[in-house]
């Protein structure tokens, strides 16, 4: 970040002209002053609110953080990482979070793909359908949580009333430890599906229609068209959606917290990893172990994202 130059005839003659000349020339450029006044605040801001906290996180994870005298916090090495992995709810939360992510994929991806395929093929009303399917994305997540907690109340909720009216057995939904997690993911899917539908539909509409016309002339059926044209040409968009889904569901916090409070559902069945980090940090005020826990999450999300990119990209791209 030393010089902002036009670049066209920048570094080649720099040595012969002398450093001072280059600096003076740069300082005279209007581009330099515009860039300088814009980038410097960004750098300061990023340093304070992004880079510095990240560096601090790595440092804090290795000390027993003293709230009143942080400078003198004793170094404990990997102690915090060992301590958090021995937390009674650590493995529970890891298991729940992975389950949450897996359910998210199963519920979101096939359904969003199907809706997107239909939306891209339908001849009339596409915008209206899209606008209405997108409505849950706009509704506040906290309101969605409360809404479904009401509707799914096992005693007085409308869903069980509806089930008993049409003669089906009533279910426990959010109130039993076996069904709370999948039910919560269903709610998350209801809320988030429209987002992925819009992204996927936009990707599909980007595929030139000549390809489908040609395929039709060749006598292919919709199934073949989907796997031979849509999927390969959508690989980039699908990759984006899977990465977004993974990153989002591995960091889920709001929905389980509003549905059940910070203790996470019947029998801790929806106690997710981010609830553990939050509890450790702001309820039990153990900053060291909390940041250690969050770094585990960081490593995991990074690995998953890289794996997804490596696994999905080469196999489909044309």
């Amino acid at each position: 970040m030393t010089s902002i130059a036009d670049g066209s005839r920048a570094s080649g003659r720099a040595e012969t002209m002398g450093v001072w000349f280059v600096v003076k020339k740069t300082l005279r450029k209007p581009q330099f002053w515009f860039g300088f006044t814009m980038i410097v605040p960004l750098l300061i801001w990023y340093w304070i609110f992004s880079f510095w906290p990240i560096i601090q996180a790595f440092r804090m994870s290795t000390v027993a953080y003293k709230l009143l005298d942080p400078g003198n916090s004793p170094f404990v090495g990997l102690g915090n990482f060992i301590k958090i992995s021995q937390h009674p709810l650590f493995w529970v939360s890891v298991k729940n979070t992975i389950l949450w992510a897996v359910y998210s994929f199963i519920f979101n991806l096939p359904l969003a793909m199907l809706i997107a395929v239909f939306l891209s093929k339908v001849k009339r009303g596409r915008n209206v359908y899209q606008a209405l399917i997108f409505v849950p994305v706009v509704v506040s997540l906290v309101a969605v949580s409360l809404l479904f907690k009401m509707v799914m109340d096992p005693e007085v909720g409308q869903l069980n009333k509806l089930l008993s009216t049409i003669g089906l057995p009533e279910l426990q939904w959010l109130s039993s430890s076996s069904s709370a997690l999948p039910t919560a993911v269903v709610i998350a899917t209801w809320k988030g599906l429209g987002f992925f539908v819009v992204i996927l539909t936009a990707g599909m509409l980007n595929i030139p229609s000549e390809l489908y016309d040609a395929a039709l002339v060749d006598g292919t059926n919709p199934w073949q068209q989907f796997w031979r044209i849509t999927m390969p040409l959508m690989s980039h968009t699908i990759l984006l959606v899977t990465v977004l889904l993974a990153i989002g569901s591995l960091q889920e916090f709001t929905l389980p917290t509003v549905l059940f409070g910070s203790e996470g559902g019947p029998g801790n069945s929806t106690f997710l990893y981010n609830l553990l980090v939050y509890q450790e940090a702001f309820l039990d005020i153990r900053f060291g172990t909390a940041t250690a826990a969050s770094l585990f999450q960081f490593a995991f999300i990074l690995t998953i994202s890289i794996l997804q990119i490596k696994l999905i990209r080469p196999s489909w791209t044309y």
Partner: protein, 288 residues
Amino acid sequence: MAVVSKAGDARRQPPRRIEISQNVMHIFLLGMVVIAIFPFIWMVFASLKPFKELVESRALLPETWTLRNYEEILGRVNFYAAFRNSIVSAVSVTVVSVYTSSVMGYIFSKYRFVGKEILFTIVLSTMMVPFAVIMVPLYITIANSFGLADNLGGIIVTGFYTAFGIFLMRQFMESIPFELIDAARIDGASEWRIFFTLVLPMSMSPMSALAVFVFLVNWDSFLWPLIVLSSQDKQTLPLVLAGLRNLWWTRYEMWAAGSMLTVIPVMAIYSFASRYFIRGIAMTGLKA
């Protein structure tokens, strides 16, 4: 003549075209629309029912229409303050970060300087860091260095730059030709003038897309405000709404009324600007 040639075409084509009929697609999509908006419609009517009717009746429409839920909730909970806090924080974060994203996207796309690629990579890589990693150190920074604990400023200043926004705007600015900017320079326009009167007007479409995206995320933001804001009158709508759970443990008609108060403003905007919302999300998907 025309009829004959059409019939000739049909004979040459493969005997049976298997296509999903438009009707099947319409029925399926209508079903999805019902699933997407019916719970919401149910909530509208639930907020207008007395408690007893809400838990006992199976009917969608209320027998006794009442606005008492709204009266009671506005009397007990300071929704006005929450609404103001949400608007102030979401709007200021949106305005500032869309502006900074455009400037930075422009500079990263059209300027050349030492260390540009490295800087861009570093900025982007912060996107990969989960929020949980920085939330504790960030809270300490906000609370101790800036004295912004339990202050709306604490959730605003952290949102002034978004790595995602910079990335998105840079992707768009790549499509603006260098020649255009050079021509303006030759005509004697200052860098500021070029940016504000040439580049910005050309970027309205991705900027509005980004604005919608940033606004939605911040309007709905929960974890960070939960950490920063503690006193009642400082809290944003999602926090106040989540607090209803503890205030009225099973008074669902209150939950419904409170949810409606939170949802109505955004739905009102959405009802006439849905096109921009959808285009915004679609564009972020295509550019990312």
